[in-house]
Structures are given as C-alpha cells and as structure tokens.
Symmetry: none
Subunit: 121 residues, 4 copies
C-alpha cells in the first residue's frame, strides 16, 4: 500500500486517504481481505492524527470498500468484478455530473472538452 499525503492540498486529509485507497482497490492493487494497516500504525507513519485515519477508514467502510472486525483490524472487502465496477461508476458519475455543469457554465462545447481531456490525460 502506497499513500502520499499533501498537507498543502485544499482537499481534507481524510478524503485524500479515501480517494487513494479506494482507487487502489478499484484498480485491483489491493486484493480481497488484504489487511489495512492498523489505525494507529497508519497515523504514525503518515504523521497524521488517529482520528483522521479513522474518518477515512469509516468512509471506506460506508462505501463498502472495506469491512471492520473490531479487535482484529480492517480488511479489503471481497468484491466481485461487477461490484467493483458498480462502486467505481457510482463515484465517477457523481463527480462527472458536477464537472460537466461547470464546463457548460463556462460555455465549453462537447468537442472542446474532449480535446482538453485528451491533452490533460
């Protein structure tokens, strides 16, 4: 597991954690039942508060990416490929909707957006 925290980013730390880990699960880099580092361990290594890590872990559990066994630890959920895709689409669609709203507000045409994406990808 590889996490990079930016303290200068405008994104809250717990969300950075959530996005990176969920991304790794979606991409299959973290296998089912993989044991996440203990909250205290992760907090110490990333030099952030225990509570911040916990918040990220909670968010991951709420979305179904991981499951918690109190007293044992947290583990990557056992997801089928279809479930992974479904989770991914849920997250992507939510964001995409807002993005498109913004680009349309700025008067961008569909093909302009596509061109920009190809440039930035």
């Amino acid at each position: 597991m590889n996490i990079i925290i930016s303290n200068t980013s405008d994104k809250p730390i717990y969300q950075q954690l959530f996005e990176q880990i969920s991304g790794q699960i979606i991409k299959g880099e973290l296998p089912s039942n993989y044991s996440l580092p203990a909250i205290r361990t992760a907090a110490k290594e990333l030099r952030i508060s225990i509570i911040t890590v916990k918040k990220a872990w909670e968010e991951l559990e709420r979305h179904g990416f991981i499951y918690t066994m109190a007293g044992k630890g947290c583990f990557v959920a056992d997801l089928s490929k279809g479930e992974v895709t479904s989770l991914r689409n849920e997250m992507v669609n939510e964001k995409m909707e807002k993005d498109m709203e913004y680009y349309k507000e700025l008067g961008l045409e569909l093909n302009e957006i596509v061109d920009l994406i190809k440039k930035h990808y």
Copy 2:
C-alpha cells in the same frame, strides 16, 4: 443578469456567484462595461450577506473579469475575444488537471472518460 443561489450546496455562496457571473461574461451574455448591480442591491435581491457579494465581486476583479470605479460601481471589463478565451482556459485548465488526476486514480482509461462525458454532457 440571472443568478441562482443554492444554500444547501457544498459550494460557498461567493463562489457560486463568481462562477455564474464569470461564466456569463465568458459566454458573452454580459457585454463590456455592463454595470453590475450595486453590492447592497444584489445582497438584498439574493437574500445573502453584503460581505458575501463583496467577496465575489473582489474575486471577479482579481481575475480581471470586472473593474471597479469607486463611488460609481462595478463594470464588466473590456475584454478582447482572445483575452476572454485566455481567461477561460486559465480556469478550465486548472480544474481539468485535478479532474484527470482523480479519474486516473480510479483507473479510468481515456476512452472510458470520453464516453462518460458524452453521456453526461
């Protein structure tokens, strides 16, 4: 000028104002030297705080979308077509960069993103 404020959105109100007005300027819906409503007037009509309107106007000025004449009011800047495009691109590129980072983090391929955009546009 047509502004819609959502109090329940997670976006700060001043930013909603900024985005909508800058969008209208970019799309040419607000002509050069168009006189923006007085801060107090806008605040009253939109039922928001004067401070919030002021912050949005300031942000617009900082980006070069409007200019202020003390005692007279605020007016849409006299921008060439090239300048408008430049301002737009500046805003779009900044956002696009972040968006692509997110979509890549979720393991989306370029063509998947393009498909989704065509769907959501």
Copy 3:
C-alpha cells in the same frame, strides 16, 4: 427540543442523540427547517464533547433527517409525510429483522411474542 442523555446506558451517546432527535422528527415534534442548536451550544448544555454532538448531527444528515448550511447551522429537512414514513420504516425494519432473529433463537412462537409486546408496550 428535549434531549436526555444517559451516561450509564450501554448505547453510545451519539446514538442516543441520533435516536431521540430522529424520533422527534418522525413524530412531527420538530417542524421542517427547525434550527437545531449549534453544535457548541448543544455540547455545553448536554455536558458532552463537541465531537460527540457532531457525530450525531452527521448521522442525522446522512440519513436525510437534517441538512447543514456551513456557517449558518443545521436544520430539520423538509420532508413529505411519505418520506418520513419511508425513513421510519427503513430504521424500523432494520431493527425488527434482528429482533425477530433473537426471539426465534430463543424458541418463542409468534403469538407469544405478540402477547409480550402487548404487555410491554
């Protein structure tokens, strides 16, 4: 609004808060757009931590009972009678399922359960 906190209960404080407030909303004792006390105020009055109150408020928002306006406060959601019933049923069904599992495990017949309920209601 009337809240009673039991420090001796086995239920976490934040859950007691959640259950009591959601119950009052469901019963119509708290009207739409009713302004909940500020987190700090509630914490002081109930003599509990700000974070504990916040956790309860968050849970209420996640279930759709209240909405948050950052910088303004938290307010009871504008729910139709049908939506209230739907929210109630969601909560009740979840619990009822577990309860029945337990009573069946103890060998109770349906009519025994009904008798007991009439006695305890």
Copy 4:
C-alpha cells in the same frame, strides 16, 4: 450442537456463542447434563480464541444454563421446564423492554408493531 460464528457481525463473538447455546438449551435441543465440548476443542473447531470461548462458557454458567466440574468439563444444567421458562423470560423481558422503548420513540402504535412482527417473523 451446531454453532455458526460471524466474524463480520457487530455482535461480539462470545455473545453469539452465548445466545446460540442458551437458545438451544431453552428449546430443549441440548438435554440436561449434556457435555459441552472442551474449551480448546471448541476454540479450534470454530477457529476463535480460547479466551473467547471461555468468556461465553462463563456467561452461560453465570446465567445458570450450565455447570462446571473442574477437571471434567462443562455440562448443561438440570433444569425443570419451569426453570427454563423463567430463564427465557428473564432474557426476553430485558430485551423486549428496550425494544419497545425504541419503537415508541419512533412513534409506532401497538398495532403497527404487531403487524410488522407478523411480517418479519
């Protein structure tokens, strides 16, 4: 004896053990003086900690469901039908009280609860 342990349940494992075994005793599925498996045996078969099994056995003894003979093992208590019913009611009443509190807090009428129970039983 048939025990199923769920590691992902929010219920502690020792309590799952307690509830299932006490339920089987109450339902008469385990006869008087039936010899419970040795703690180490049960722990190994269920793939849980010895400490956890011990805690469940202790809880069963505390409630009077089983008795321990040092060096021999644990056995189902010799309970009359009345005693069984009494034990059962003790457990049921304790839970029922809390349940009804919750359902009343959500504004459910007696007949609504009965209807729901018939549906979920």
